[in-house]
Amino acid sequence: MAPLVGEVAEAENESVPPFSTGSSKRRRRVRWWRGVVLVLAGAFFLIPIYAGIKFSLQNSASHFSFQAYEKLTSAPGFTAALTLSLKIALVTMVVSTLLMVPTAIYVHIRLPRLRRLLEVVTVLPIVIPPIVLIVGVLGVFPLWAKSSPYLLSFMYVILAMPFVYRSLDAGIGAIDLKTLTEASRSLGGNWSKTMWRVVLPNIRPALLSATVLTLALVFGEYTMAQLDLWQTIPVWIAQFQVSTDGPIQVAASMLGLVGTWVLLLFVVSIDRSQSRRNRKKLRA
């Protein structure tokens, strides 16, 4: 979403003709403070990452080593926590996609009036804190639900709603869904075919980024997992015995943070190269 907005703004900036002398002076001043702001912000965001990486690449005698990362996989409980997190993540992503994609598409085509309602509902998980939600859930849900780790998946679908819906909404809004579906229908495609062959391929970037963010959510969510007493990766990191190996916690945290970022950059660049290829094809 954000890159799109940026592109529009850039096009607008470039279309401004530098016709007044005051404008170029202003531009120089803007560049100067822009540099300062960006350097300061960069320092604030990069120093902790640097510190985390440096700290995780030290052994107990403060020498450079990959020890923490090597020990991570064999640390007690790590594999179990990773498996649990992966299972929960998989279920969350499947349920979230099955629930949100048809709803978002249907509302866009048939019930544009309900978009407002959907926007309100999908903002609620930001409003109601996870801690309040899990307190309520543990208070009233039946025992069979509370004893399953997939109760977390159920709630993570809710927590993911704000950005999954926004991502899908932007993705669907960017293509002319109505024309596409009408074209497909008039060419004789039925609904399922229209969905699979026309709609889904067109919103794939949005779907992908929604999925990656959901994955990041599951691998970062601590509140609900800890209070529901399941040792997912974040809970494992927090409860790991520091006395034995401090850097391991930092190593696991850095893997999570850097891993998510790389994954998201990867998805975004796939999206870019795809659209560039399409454009090239069109031109040829």
Binding site: R34, L124, G136
Partner: protein
């Protein structure tokens, strides 16, 4: 569809002469189906949301006014407001203070960062920051805790750097494991959130407005004072309200950083849930949760009012 056809032919064999009637009937059924189709189509979403959002919120509200063994009461709320030497009120006070501070500071700085990124002509920078902002704004607090221990803890990288140039963090009242530390760590996800929220609004500032102002002889300062800031203000305020909500509700970072020792409302709820409770007061946790819901509802009502104002110019 197929259902309709079956009924039509069945009735047709029974009552041959009343074809118009059956036709009328089946079209009525079809119409009913067509009219109710939207309901069926978004019913799963609505039911799911109700189960995952509605039920827990209702449950919290209900239990906040229930005695331990049933029956309505105000004693939970009363205990929350007066009991334990006002420890719960202190929790709310600290949470609101933390929410306000980590809404206003990143709220203002975030606008500058977003503007700097937007007006830079680097596509790479823009892509990098938009994905990074997405990750950081959504990423769990637990990783931040350990990253900041490595940065600003007693042996942290930045702590040592600052010590080298003669600044001792403990001397300026900073301690990572207390309120000030939590505030700094919160900035790490609040700033990206603000950048994400305010970027679309900045994109809505039309270049033509600036040109118009310049042509009429306005200085840069005047442009921002009379045009830029008034247009952006609702979006900025809206973003800050969102940040307030996010900091007010956050649990993971504060819990892991201070080991649950800081008195913030979410931590207190967590303590109740973890079983650190005096017998007979288990429902106080629900009362605190209810109190948080009330404060957040007020925030969101303000947010929607501000949003309405923001959409007047930017669209």
């Amino acid at each position: 569809m197929s259902n309709n056809e079956v009924t039509g032919s069945d009735l047709g064999t029974l009552v041959l002469e009343s074809d118009p009637v059956t036709h009328h009937r089946s079209s009525g059924l079809r119409q009913l189906l067509r009219r109710s189709a939207p309901v069926f189509a978004i019913a799963p979403f609505l039911i799911y949301s109700f189960l995952g959002l509605g039920i827990p919120a209702i449950a919290v509200t209900y239990y906040a006014f229930q005695k331990e063994h049933g029956g309505w009461t105000f004693s939970n709320i009363h205990f929350m407001l007066t009991g334990e030497q006002h420890v719960f009120l202190t929790g709310f006070e600290n949470s609101i203070k933390l929410g306000l501070l980590s809404a206003v500071i990143p709220g203002i700085l975030g606008v500058f960062i977003a503007y700097a990124i937007q007006t830079s002509n680097s596509n790479v920078l823009r892509r990098l920051t938009s994905t990074a902002a997405g990750v950081l704004a959504n990423f769990g607090g637990i990783n931040l805790t350990f990253m900041f221990i490595a940065t600003l803890g007693s042996g942290g990288v930045l702590t040592l750097w600052l010590a080298d140039i003669g600044i001792k963090l403990s001397n300026i009242g900073f301690n990572l494991y207390t309120f000030s530390g939590v505030l700094v760590v919160y900035m790490y996800f609040q700033l990206p959130l603000m950048v994400l929220v305010v970027t679309p609004a900045l994109g809505g500032l039309r270049a033509s407005w600036r040109e118009a102002a310049e042509n009429m002889g306005a200085s840069s300062f005047q442009y921002w004072l009379r045009v830029g800031i008034p247009v952006l203000l609702p979006s900025i305020l809206g973003g800050m309200l969102l940040l307030f909500g996010s900091a007010f509700a956050a649990y993971a970072t504060a819990e892991t950083l201070t080991l649950g020792l800081i008195s913030l409302s979410p931590i207190q709820i967590g303590n109740y849930l973890n079983g650190n409770v005096i017998a007979g007061q288990t429902h106080v946790g629900y009362a605190i949760a209810f109190g948080m819901l009330v404060i957040l509802s007020i925030t969101m009502i303000l947010y929607s009012l501000v949003r309405r104002r923001a959409s007047k110019w930017l669209r």
